[in-house]
C-alpha cells in the first residue's frame, strides 16, 4: 500500500525542495486560498462535535461523501490570525478530498512537521495534528459505515 495519497505526496515532495523562506511563502499562499466551509454544509454556531480538540485556532472539520467514493473535507478556522491552521486546512482539503479512505485514515498526524518544519512550538504542532486526526477519524468512520451499512 502507498504511504500517502498521491496528491499529498506530490505536495510534500514540492515542499521538501524549498528552503524555509520559500516554504513559508507557499504555506501562506495555501492560507490565502483557504475557503471556509460552505453554508450548505454548516452554519454558525458550528456544532461542538465538529470542533478539532486541541486546536487553539478554533478549527472545525466536516466531511461529505463524494459520488465516486472518498470524502470531501471542509474546514472553518474561526481565529482570523490562525494562518497556519488555514494553510493546513487548504492542504488537507485539496490533497485528501476524494482520496481513498484507507489512505486518508493512515495519514500520519506528524506530517505537520514535514509541512511546517520542526520549529513549531509543541502546542502549535499538536493543535495542527488534531486537525489531521479529525480528518483521519472522518475517513475511518466512513470505512466503518461502509462495512456495516450504517451510514449517517
Amino acid at each position: 500500500m502507498k504511504l500517502l495519497p498521491d496528491r499529498l505526496e506530490r505536495l510534500l515532495a514540492a515542499l521538501d525542495t524549498l528552503d524555509r523562506g520559500d516554504r513559508i511563502q507557499m504555506l501562506i499562499e495555501f492560507a490565502g486560498q483557504f475557503r471556509p466551509v460552505p453554508s450548505r454544509i454548516a452554519q454558525r454556531p458550528y456544532p461542538a462535535e465538529h470542533r478539532v480538540p486541541g486546536c487553539e485556532s478554533e478549527v472545525y472539520v466536516w466531511a461529505e461523501p463524494e459520488p465516486k467514493g472518498g470524502l470531501t473535507y471542509y474546514f472553518a478556522v474561526e481565529n482570523p490570525q490562525g494562518i497556519s491552521a488555514m494553510a493546513l486546512a487548504g492542504i488537507l482539503g485539496s490533497s485528501l478530498s476524494g482520496a481513498a479512505l484507507d489512505e486518508v485514515a493512515a495519514v500520519p498526524a506528524d506530517l505537520v512537521y514535514r509541512i511546517f518544519g520542526r520549529e513549531l512550538s509543541m502546542g502549535k504542532s499538536l493543535g495542527l495534528m488534531g486537525m489531521v486526526n479529525m480528518v483521519r477519524a472522518a475517513a475511518r468512520q466512513q470505512i466503518q459505515a461502509a462495512a456495516t451499512g450504517d451510514y449517517k
Binding site: 513559508i24 482570523p80 490570525q81 497556519s84 511546517f116 518544519g117 513549531l120 502549535k124 493543535g127 495534528m129
Partner: protein, 299 residues
C-alpha cells in the same frame, strides 16, 4: 476602551508603548520594532513596516540543550537586526504578547533594558487597520557587544524553586485552573505537553496569566485592576520574593513582566523549567487535588 498607558498607574509605564506611538516611530532610527510569535507564518504573512522577526525557537533557544542562547548568539541576533545597546527594542506579537514578553524577559537576561512592549500586540494593530507589509527590512549590521547572560536576577532553576517551595515563599502557577488542579497536563485547547505527573507545586497560587489582559483588545489591565488580582485577592506584596511558572516559561514571562514592571514588585523570577520539568522530576513534591479526590473515592 483602555485608558492611556500613562494614566493607568503603572510603576514603569515607560516599558509599554501604544500602537499610536509605534506608528509615529516607524522610521525612527533609534527604534527597532520586532515581532515575536508562536505561529511561524504570521510575520511573513504581514507585519508592521520596518519590523524584524525574532523567532523564539530559532533565535532565542539553544538548538541542542534546553536553554537559551548564549552571549555570542545573542550578539549575532542583535547585530543581524542592526541594534546597538542604545537601540530601543519594541516587541509585539500574537497571543496577547506572550512571546513578546518572553523575548523581553530574555533581553533582560542580557541587560538590554531599553526594551518595550507594544500594548495590545499584533491583533490590536491589525484590528485598528494600521499599515502592514510583507517586505522584510534589511538593516546595516551593528557591532552589538553583550555582557554574559545573567540568570541570577530574573530566572529561577529547579533547585532554587524547590528551596523556595520548602521555605513557603510565594510561587505563582499561571496555568489554567484545570492544569493547576491536575485534571489535565496541558492548557485548555492544547494537547498533552509531555509531563508525567499533573498538579502543581505545593503552596503555589493559581493566577492564570490571562487575567492581566483586557480580553476585548489584548491590552494590559490598569494598575488598580492588577492590584486587585495580585495583592488583594492573592495577598502578594511588592516586596515579596516571587517565582512564577507555567509549562515552559512563556506564559509566566508575561506574569513576570506584569509584576516586575507594571506593579513594581522588586524580586520576581521566572522558573522556565516550569511544569514540563517539575512534572517529570523524581521525588519532588506535587499537589494534585484531582488525583487525591480519585484516590479517596476509590478507598
Amino acid at each position: 476602551m483602555s485608558k492611556g498607558i500613562g494614566e493607568r498607574g503603572y510603576t514603569r509605564a515607560d516599558v509599554l508603548v501604544s500602537t499610536d506611538w509605534v506608528e509615529q516611530h516607524l522610521k525612527d532610527r533609534d527604534v527597532r520594532i520586532a515581532e515575536s510569535n508562536e505561529d511561524p507564518l504570521l510575520y511573513s504573512s504581514n507585519h508592521i513596516p520596518g519590523a524584524v522577526e525574532i523567532d523564539w525557537t530559532r533565535d532565542l533557544n539553544d538548538p541542542v540543550r534546553r536553554d537559551y542562547l548564549g552571549r555570542t548568539a545573542f550578539e549575532r541576533l542583535m547585530r543581524r537586526i542592526g541594534a546597538t545597546r542604545d537601540t530601543t527594542i519594541v516587541l509585539y506579537g500574537d497571543k496577547n504578547n506572550w512571546w513578546a514578553t518572553y523575548a523581553f524577559w530574555l533581553l533582560q537576561l542580557f541587560g538590554h533594558q531599553n526594551a518595550k512592549i507594544m500594548d495590545g500586540g499584533r491583533l490590536k494593530w491589525i484590528k485598528e487597520n494600521r499599515p502592514v507589509t510583507r517586505d522584510v527590512p534589511k538593516y546595516q549590521p551593528s557591532n552589538y557587544q553583550a555582557p554574559e547572560r545573567d540568570d541570577t536576577r530574573f530566572r529561577a532553576f529547579r533547585d532554587q524553586t524547590l528551596e523556595h517551595q520548602e521555605r513557603k515563599l510565594p510561587l505563582i502557577d499561571v496555568r489554567s485552573p484545570e492544569e493547576f488542579r491536575g485534571e489535565r497536563l496541558h492548557m485548555p485547547d492544547y494537547p498533552n505537553e509531555g509531563a508525567l505527573r499533573g498538579g502543581h507545586i505545593p503552596g503555589a497560587l493559581n493566577i492564570p496569566w490571562g487575567r492581566a489582559v483586557n480580553q476585548e483588545d489584548g491590552t494590559f489591565k490598569d494598575a488598580a485592576e492588577l492590584r486587585k488580582i495580585y495583592t488583594e485577592e492573592n495577598k502578594l506584596r511588592p516586596e515579596d520574593d516571587v517565582i512564577a511558572y507555567c509549562r515552559i516559561g512563556e506564559r509566566s514571562s508575561h506574569t513576570w513582566f506584569v509584576l516586575s514592571y507594571l506593579l513594581g514588585f522588586s524580586r520576581v523570577r521566572n522558573y522556565d523549567g516550569s511544569w514540563t520539568e517539575w512534572g517529570n522530576l523524581v521525588q519532588v513534591p506535587v499537589e494534585n487535588p484531582s488525583a487525591e479526590a480519585r484516590d479517596e473515592a476509590a478507598a
